[in-house]
C-alpha cells in the first residue's frame, strides 16, 4: 500500500520567543514491510536541523530556531510503501531488549482495576491473551476523536467512558505489562481511526512482544492488529517518550497548538 502523509503542526505564541529548541521524532525508517519512498521535514522560518538517534533507536531531528519568533509551522510530508504483515514487525532497528518494555512509567502504570481487568480478559497463551485484551479495550471505550489530554495516565483514562487512540494504546500497554508481556507505545500515521478525513493528532498504537513472533502491533482503536495502513515512526515506553515533538522555548506568554493531519491511501 502507498500511504501519503501530510502533517502540519503550528505553534502560535502570544509573545515573541527568543529561541525555540525542539526534538522531533517524525522520521519513519525502513523495515522489512515499510519502505520510505520520500520524506520531508520543513519549517516555515530559519532553522537549523541536526539528525540523530535516541536510546530507543528512533530517528530524531533537533530543531534550533533563533527568535524573535511568533509562530512556527512544522510540515512533515512524504510517501511510504507498506506490505501486509499481520501486524508482525520485521527488520526494525532494536537496540533494547524486550525485557525493558516490562517497565512501568507514570503514564502506563496499571492500577488495581486495570490489573483485574487484564487478568479477567487476558486469558490463554500470550498471543491469544493479547488479542483478547485488545478486543476488550476496544469494546470498553467509545473512541474520542478529540485531541488527547496532555499527560493523562492510563489509570486515569481507564475511569472514563471515552478514550483517544493514545489513551487506548497506553491502557493496552499497562494491561499487557501487568500480565508480564513486554509492550510499548508506537507513534506514527494511520487513517484507520479518523473521524472524518483528518485527525487532530498523529496516531498512537501499541506493540507487544510475543516469544517466537517478535513484536506484534495492536491497535485498540480498531480492536485489530495494525495492518499495512500504518506508518511506524517511533517507539518508547509510553506516549511521552515517543512524542513527535518535545519542545522548549525561551520567552514569555502562552502557546497554542494547531494540527492539520492527512493520511491517505494512494488512489483514494
Amino acid at each position: 500500500m502507498r500511504l501519503i502523509v501530510d502533517h502540519r503542526t503550528t505553534y502560535r505564541f502570544t509573545a515573541p520567543q527568543a529561541r525555540l529548541i525542539q526534538l522531533l521524532r517524525v522520521n519513519p525508517e525502513d523495515t522489512h514491510d515499510q519502505s520510505v519512498a520520500s520524506w520531508n521535514v520543513h519549517v516555515d522560518c530559519d532553522a537549523r536541523f541536526r539528525r540523530g538517534r535516541d536510546g530507543f533507536g528512533n530517528s530524531t531531528t533537533m530543531l534550533y530556531v533563533d527568535g524573535p519568533v511568533d509562530s512556527i509551522e512544522i510540515t512533515v510530508s512524504g510517501e511510504v510503501l507498506t506490505n501486509p504483515s499481520n501486524g508482525i514487525v520485521h527488520g526494525a532497528h532494536e537496540p533494547l531488549p524486550p525485557a525493558l518494555f516490562l517497565r512501568e512509567t507514570v503514564l502506563t502504570m496499571a492500577d488495581l482495576d486495570m490489573r483485574d481487568f487484564a487478568r479477567d480478559v487476558g486469558l490463554g497463551e500470550p498471543l491469544a491473551a493479547l488479542h483478547a485484551l485488545n478486543g476488550a479495550v476496544h469494546r470498553r471505550f467509545a473512541l474520542d476523536h478529540g485531541r488527547p489530554a496532555a499527560g493523562q495516565s492510563a489509570a486515569t483514562a481507564f475511569q472514563h467512558p471515552t478514550a483517544t487512540p493514545r489513551d487506548l494504546a497506553q491502557m493496552f500497554i499497562a494491561a499487557a505489562r501487568s500480565l508480564g508481556i513486554p509492550a510499548r507505545y508506537v507513534s506514527g500515521y494511520s487513517p484507520a481511526c479518523f473521524g472524518d478525513d483528518a485527525s487532530p493528532a498523529p496516531h498512537g498504537w501499541a506493540e507487544a512482544h510475543v516469544i517466537g513472533l517478535g513484536w506484534v502491533a495492536f491497535d485498540s482503536c480498531t480492536g485489530l492488529c495494525a495492518d499495512e495502513a500504518y506508518v511506524r515512526v517511533a517507539v518508547a515506553l509510553d506516549s511521552a517518550g515517543a512524542a513527535p515533538v518535545a519542545g522548549s522555548r525561551l520567552g514569555e506568554g502562552e502557546e497554542a497548538l494547531d494540527v492539520d493531519l492527512h493520511v491517505d491511501r494512494a488512489g483514494q
Binding site: 540523530g52 530507543f56 533537533m62 517497565r103 518535545a246 519542545g247
Partner: protein, 505 residues
C-alpha cells in the same frame, strides 16, 4: 583503628596520642569552635529535608584527625582503582554490548526493570568511553586489615569540599601535627579534577572550556559547587547560562557566546534536559543530551550512572569486578541479602531486629531501618513494606565498626566512622586522592554518620610513611603501645553487633 570492641592498639600512632595528651581539652575545643566558626562564615552549610531552619546548619567538625598509614593506603588504593575500573567497564558494557548479561552474571530484569537504567541514553558513547569520572566509594572498617565497601557513589558524589576545608582548618589550627606526621597533601584535588575534566574533552578540542553546572543556591551542596568552580578557576553556571545550538553547548558571557566542552554537572539525570528526561525541569538545559549524543560535550559524570551504584546492583559488585578485571575484588562488599530472593527475604523478615534494611534507591539515610535501634512499630512498618515490595529492599548485617577518638561533651571518646575517598578517572587513567571524607557519628554508640542525621566530619590524614613520628614527640609514645586507637578512653563493649552506618548523600 582497631576492631571495635577488641581495642587493637596502633603503636605507630603514638605521636597522635601524645598530641592529644599534651593539648588541653579546652584548647582542643577552642580550635574546634574556631574551625566551625570559619565554616559558618564560609557558608559551608547543608539543608535537612523537612527542617525549616536548615539553611543555618553546618556539619559539625571534629578536631581529632583520623589517620591512615602508607601501607594501609596503598592496599586501599589498589582496591579502589580496581573497583572504579570495574564500574566504568560495567557502564560501557551495560549501555553498549551487554556482555555481562550474555554471560549470565546478572539477572537481566535487575537491569531492565531498574529505573536507574536509562534507556534514553543507551547507545551513546561518552568521550573516551569514560562514565564515572568522579566516584566516592564509602568504606567501613571492622579490623586492622578489614575494609569493606558499603556503597559506591558514581553519580554526583558530594563531600570533597569538606575534605579540603577540613584540611585547611587543621593546617591553620594544628600546624604541629603536620610537623609530627608526614601527611600527604590533598590540596591538589582541584587541579587533578580539572586535569581529569580536560582529559575527557571531545576529541580534537585543543583548549577545552570546562564549567561546573549547579542547580542553584538553594541546593544543599551549593557551597561545594561554587567552591570547586572557584578553586579550579572555571565558571560556575546555572542552566540559564547555557544554551544548546546546532548540537553544541554554549555559555552566555558578557563577551558573547563561548563554546563549552566539558560540564561537571551537579544536577541529577532527571532534571538534566527537559526534552529527554522530566519535561517540567526548570534546572536543565534543553538539547543537552543531543549535544552529548553528538559527541560535542562531555558530561561529568555521565548520565545513566545510577545503574552502577544502585543498591540492588551493589550486591553483585564482587561478580562485576571479577567479570571485568579477571581477578577477585580486593575490597570486599558488606554481606548483603537481596530481598528480591525469597530465601533472603525470609531470613531478613526473621531477623529484622538485628539487620539494617535499605531501600535500593534510597540515599542520605532516608528509607532505612536500623533494626537494633528501631521501635517495634518501625520494624512492623518495614515488615509490611518488605512483604509488599521485596525487590525494593536489601538488608545488611550489623557490623562491629571501627571507632576513632573524637571530642565529645565529656572529653575524648570513641565514635564510629566511615570513610569516603574520592577516585578520579580521566583518559590517562585512574587516581585516588590521598585523603577523603571521614564521617563520624557524634552520638555515643550511634552508627549513623549522615550529616542529615547527626553526623560530623573530621580530617583524614594519609601518611607518606608508616607513622614513625618525627621530631621530639617520638620519645613520648612509650606508654601508647598497649592502648586502643584512642589513647584516653577504652572502647565500649557494645561496639560489637551494631549496624553499619547509613548510605551516602
Amino acid at each position: 583503628m582497631g576492631q571495635a570492641g577488641s581495642t587493637v592498639a596502633r603503636p605507630e600512632l603514638a605521636a597522635l596520642g601524645a598530641w592529644i595528651d599534651e593539648t588541653p581539652d579546652a584548647e582542643l575545643r577552642r580550635r574546634q569552635q574556631s574551625a566551625e566558626a570559619t565554616f559558618r562564615q564560609l557558608g559551608i552549610t547543608f539543608a535537612v529535608y523537612g527542617d525549616s531552619d536548615a539553611s543555618e546548619r553546618i556539619i559539625p567538625f571534629d578536631i581529632v584527625p583520623r589517620v591512615f598509614l602508607a601501607d594501609e593506603w596503598a592496599r586501599l588504593s589498589a582496591g579502589l582503582v580496581q573497583r572504579v575500573e570495574a564500574i566504568n567497564a560495567f557502564l560501557v558494557d551495560i549501555y553498549g554490548e551487554r556482555k555481562i548479561l550474555d554471560a549470565g552474571v546478572l539477572p537481566p530484569d535487575l537491569i531492565f526493570g531498574n529505573a536507574q537504567f536509562r534507556p534514553e541514553i543507551a547507545g551513546i558513547r561518552p568521550p573516551h568511553d569514560i562514565w564515572a569520572h568522579i566516584c566516592g566509594i564509602d568504606l567501613v572498617r571492622t579490623g586492622p586489615d578489614d575494609f569493606f565497601v558499603l556503597e559506591d557513589n558514581a553519580r554526583t558524589p558530594s563531600g570533597v569540599s569538606y575534605m579540603l576545608e577540613n584540611r585547611e582548618a587543621m593546617l591553620r589550627l594544628c600546624p604541629e601535627l603536620f610537623r609530627d606526621f608526614r601527611v600527604a597533601a590533598v590540596d591538589s584535588y582541584p587541579d587533578r579534577l580539572l586535569e581529569t575534566m580536560k582529559s575527557v574533552a571531545p576529541e580534537g578540542v585543543a583548549a577545552p572550556v570546562c564549567v561546573v553546572l549547579t542547580p542553584g543556591h538553594y541546593n544543599s551542596a551549593y557551597y561545594e559547587h561554587s567552591f570547586l568552580a572557584d578553586s579550579m578557576g572555571v565558571e560556575l553556571v546555572e542552566a540559564a547560562d547555557l544554551v544548546v545550538d546546532d548540537d553544541v553547548v554554549w555559555m552566555r558571557t558578557i563577551a558573547g557566546r563561548v563554546k563549552v566542552d566539558v560540564i561537571y554537572r551537579r544536577i541529577d539525570d532527571d532534571y538534566l534536559d527537559p526534552l529527554v528526561f522530566r519535561p517540567d525541569s526548570m534546572l536543565g538545559v534543553p538539547g543537552l543530551i543531543a549535544a552529548y549524543a553528538a559527541g560535542n560535550v562531555a558530561l561529568i559524570n555521565a548520565p545513566g550512572n545510577g545503574i552502577a551504584d544502585d543498591k540492588a546492583i551493589y550486591s553483585y559488585m564482587p561478580e562485576i569486578v571479577r567479570f571485568y578485571s579477571g581477578g577477585e575484588a580486593k575490597l570486599p562488599n558488606v554481606e548483603t541479602w537481596r530481598c528480591r530472593e525469597p530465601q533472603a527475604l525470609k531470613y531478613v523478615l526473621d531477623n529484622l531486629k538485628d539487620v539494617v534494611v535499605k531501600l535500593v534507591d534510597g540515599s542520605g539515610g532516608y528509607g532505612m531501618l536500623v533494626g537494633p535501634t528501631a521501635t517495634k512499630a518501625e520494624i512492623e512498618t518495614f515488615r509490611a513494606a518488605l512483604i509488599a515490595k521485596p525487590h525494593r529492599y536489601i538488608a545488611q548485617p550489623t557490623l562491629a565498626l571501627s571507632t576513632v577518638p573524637t571530642l565529645a561533651d565529656a572529653g575524648l571518646a570513641p565514635r564510629h566512622v566511615d570513610f569516603r575517598p574520592f577516585v578520579l578517572t580521566g583518559s590517562k587513567g585512574v587516581q585516588v586522592v590521598p585523603g577523603g571524607l571521614t564521617r563520624v557519628a557524634l552520638k555515643e554508640g550511634s552508627l549513623v554518620v549522615n550529616s542529615s542525621q547527626g553526623g560530623g566530619t573530621k580530617d583524614s590524614f594519609v601518611l607518606m610513611d608508616n607513622g614513625a613520628a618525627r621530631g621530639q614527640r617520638q620519645s613520648q609514645g612509650q606508654s601508647q603501645a598497649l592502648r586502643p586507637e584512642l589513647p584516653l578512653h577504652h572502647l565500649p563493649e557494645e561496639a560489637n553487633g551494631r549496624p553499619p552506618p547509613a548510605g551516602a548523600e
